[in-house]
């Protein structure tokens, strides 16, 4: 087997099959790659070798007359190590177009159900790595083509098999890589400002309080003067007058029914010369509309526990994980700005589901409990990438075989030997992957503050309404007090003018209204069963 290194000038097209000579004498090389990272190739070459600084080069293997590119990368400027006769150089498989490739992957990922922008700060939404938070996947960098793809934690796109005869003797090693996390305590926090406004027509409520169903009084002047003006604010209560007027009117004739009397009964003044009089009863019509405005900061916290089902039973990692996810600006995701609860909406439940995906991605790496390392002849691993599922058949394994995801490889060749070391991670899940379907959200307390305004009627904004001294009551008082003359009558009316008092719904705002929810549905997640 021979190895070639071929420098590639910018814009040059290389025909791998026609290479007959190496641009450098390769004394030995090591080609390695770990999942999520790019491939590195370190070569030991004669000190006198001429290097093309900042150039890209192919590393090609020729085996059985077949030329297989193993690596394509850029030379690092400075050698790693220099001795009397040799130098060690390093090349990195850095894609020239990695930005555009990642951008493309990012855009495609944003269209899938695995992306929820609520979980990412605005300034980080263009970062391609953010798409990996809720996917059990990593970027996979092809060491030769430099193509970037997403590769699943547990299963690769390509299957490769090694049986006992291919594995170098005494090279099979099995270890427990990491213990699975038993569960994740997840908190999802959402904050927003509930904003609502509306109008209430108060006039019908006032009218209903009066006999006859219309405002009537013997003291219209005070009511007309006290009637609120448009634009008037009721302190800092959130209420303001938006429409208001009051004026006397002639009510309809009702004949003998006498529903709308125009004057009082005869009032006999006790003084002899004062005589008997009738007072005019004024009927008033108008409008009184109140506008209200409400703002309240709200915070909702959903707490849940995602349990990890795995085969390790009592052997779990001691360090539990508490994960708090804080959502970004909800304003575009609320059904209306007046929504009093986010997590009780469909969008909120969708966010909880996404949070569970993120949590499961935290459990996923810890579920790859077992690691098997094997060494095979380098010829068995030509063209290997990290997007591969490796199946090993060996009598040392339980049931004689094992399957897992290739998480790292190292290819080494020198004059004396050449090999490929492969590390495979296997998940100790149960009964196949358990998906999370539905959950029950329970609020720990009732909703405080203003509920959804659409559920409120005008009457819900009136806590109390009191009326004193409509015309009928005033007439009764006059009869009771039996004034002697007009001056006394005037004083009685002065002391018993018509009054209307509203106490409105309390819409005072607080610093924040916090509400906690728990998910009482037991939630489990499990990786595939690979052992």
């Amino acid at each position: 087997m021979r190895f070639f290194l071929k420098w590639v000038d910018s814009g040059e097209e290389v025909c791998i099959g026609k290479i007959v000579k190496s641009d450098l004498d390769i004394l030995d090389f090591t080609l390695s790659q770990r999942e999520g990272g790019i491939a590195l190739c370190s070569l030991t070459i004669p000190l006198s070798s001429i290097l093309k600084k900042d150039s890209y080069a192919f590393l090609i293997a020729k085996h059985n007359e077949k030329m297989t590119p193993l690596f394509y990368g850029k030379l690092m400027g400075v050698p790693l190590h220099v001795s009397d006769l040799q130098q060690k150089i390093e090349l990195f498989a850095v894609p020239k177009d990695y930005r555009s490739q990642l951008e493309k992957i990012k855009k495609e990922a944003h269209q899938t159900a695995e992306w929820d922008e609520l979980f990412v700060d605005v300034e980080k939404r263009e970062d391609p790595t953010e798409i990996l938070e809720s996917r059990p996947e990593l970027f996979c960098w092809n060491p030769v083509t430099h193509q970037v793809t997403l590769s699943n934690f547990f299963v690769g796109r390509v299957n490769r098999t090694f049986n006992e005869s291919q594995i170098l003797q005494n090279s099979l090693k099995i270890k427990i890589g990491q213990l699975p996390k038993p569960y994740i305590n997840l908190s999802v926090v959402a904050e927003w400002v509930q904003e609502a406004e509306g109008e209430i027509n108060l006039f019908p409520f006032i009218e209903k309080k009066f006999s006859g169903g219309k405002i009537n009084t013997l003291t219209p002047k005070s009511l007309l003067i006290q009637w609120p003006r448009k634009g008037q604010l009721l302190g800092r209560s959130g209420y303001a007058i938006v429409e208001s007027h009051l004026q006397p009117f002639n009510p309809p004739m009702t004949g003998s029914l006498g529903i709308y009397p125009h004057f009082t009964d005869q009032i006999e003044l006790l003084d002899e010369n004062a005589g008997a009089i009738r007072l005019r009863q004024t009927w008033l019509n108008g409008k009184l509309k109140l506008g209200w405005c409400y703002k309240q900061k709200r915070r909702e916290i959903v707490k849940l526990k995602l349990n990890h089902r795995h085969q390790m039973l009592s052997r779990s990692e001691a360090n539990k994980l508490d994960l708090t996810l804080r959502l970004s600006d909800l304003s575009k995701h609320l059904p209306t700005p007046a929504t009093p609860s986010f997590f009780e909406t469909e969008r909120g439940k969708q966010a909880i589901g996404h949070a569970l995906k993120i949590a499961s991605c935290h459990l996923a790496p810890s579920s790859r409990t077992y690691e098997i390392t094997i060494k095979v002849p380098i010829t068995e691993a030509l063209g290997i990438t990290l997007d591969e599922t490796i199946t090993i058949y060996h009598p040392a394994l339980t049931k004689g075989s094992a399957k897992g995801k290739l998480v790292s490889y190292k290819l080494h060749a020198s004059f004396e030997k050449s090999w490929a070391q492969l590390t495979i991670a296997m998940a100790a899940g149960e009964d196949g992957e358990v998906k999370i379907d539905g959950f029950n959200l329970v609020a720990e307390a009732e909703l405080e503050g203003l509920p959804l305004p659409e559920t409120l009627a005008n009457s819900d904004f009136i806590d109390a309404l009191s009326l004193r001294n409509d015309a009928f009551s005033q007439s009764q008082i006059i009869k009771q007090k039996a004034p002697r003359n007009k001056d006394e009558l005037r004083q009685i009316l002065q002391d018993n003018q018509t009054e209307i008092i509203f106490t409105l719904r309390d819409i005072r705002s607080k610093d924040v209204l916090e509400r906690q929810f728990v998910v009482d549905t037991p939630l489990f997640w499990s990786a595939p069963k690979q052992v």
Binding site: I38, L223, M253, I501, L504
Partner: protein, 283 residues
């Protein structure tokens, strides 16, 4: 650039700080109370109900024509009978049986407390409404009736030289002056070999110093008014001025028992077929 770590998810990185909303502690800080009550307002006068001193009511004149085609007038000269003529000829529309005064929708009110009167559209204000029996049925304020004949009449040549004068009809033409509306009398005479109804206005008699139905000697003739009325006839306008028409204002609320009667005291023309009748409180 730390390419490896930046692109490796497994590197530890902090999660989003999340959106932190601003506090709303100071947005609404008070409970909303709306009080409509007067603390200091002084009642300087009582709103006592009083009835107007004077009323003016706009009426429209609707003449009631005669419909007696069978009534005839015949003149006799001894035994000679002149051909009869219809007593009330349909062409003579100026002669009417009565005039209906119909409420025309407008009143003027003068209250004791104000110097000027104000106009009211409709037949009521402040709970008081016109209330006559005839009015409630058909908006009729008053039917001004004239004396007329309900049977055929005859005229005779009288050797005693007595001239019989009959109350005939009322005179009214749309557009005529109010002073022209008056009682009309007639005598049955002969003209061109035909019986003839000779009409005379009340004004003409008054101008002669005669006041029907009082009888008079006129030179060698005696004028006899054959009328059931014992009172002197007066013109339409004078009748109004003498309180011929009465109305009442009543409260719509019968329990309030508020009612006031008014009598007519004058009349003013208002267009060709309308007039304002002025009323005063009757004691």
């Amino acid at each position: 650039m730390r390419f490896y770590h930046n692109l490796n998810k497994l590197a530890i990185k902090p999660y989003s700080r999340g959106f932190q909303a601003s506090s709303t502690a100071l947005f609404n800080t008070e409970i909303g109370i709306l009080e409509l009550k007067s603390e200091e307002e002084v009642i300087d006068s009582l709103d006592i109900v009083c009835l107007p001193d004077f009323l003016e009511i706009l009426v429209e004149f609707i003449p009631i024509p005669f419909d007696y085609p069978h009534l005839m007038a015949t003149y006799y000269y001894y035994d000679k009978v002149f051909p009869s003529v219809p007593l009330y000829s349909p062409e003579k529309i100026q002669f009417v049986k009565a005039i209906d005064l119909i409420f025309a929708g407008v009143m003027k009110i003068k209250m004791p407390t104000s110097r000027d009167s104000f106009l009211v559209n409709g037949d009521g204000f402040d709970g008081l409404y016109l209330k006559n029996e005839t009015y409630l049925q058909s908006k009729l304020i008053h039917r001004f009736c004239f004396d007329f004949q309900e049977q055929s009449v005859t005229g005779h040549f009288n050797e005693n030289k007595e001239i019989i004068i009959f109350p005939y009809a009322g005179f009214y033409k749309p557009g005529c002056h109010l002073n022209d509306i008056q009682q009309v009398f007639c005598t049955i005479e002969e003209n061109a070999d035909m019986s003839y109804v000779h009409c005379s206005l009340l004004d003409e008699w008054h101008n002669q110093g005669r006041f029907p139905p009082q009888s008079y000697d006129n030179n060698d003739k005696k004028l006899i008014f054959r009328s059931s009325s014992r009172e002197p006839y007066i013109s339409f306008v004078n009748s109004i001025r003498h309180g011929k028409i009465s109305i009442s204002l009543s409260s719509t609320d019968e329990e309030a028992q508020l009612q006031q009667s008014y009598v007519s005291m004058d009349i003013f023309q208002h267009g060709p077929t309308k007039a304002f009748i002025q009323f005063i409180k009757s004691t």
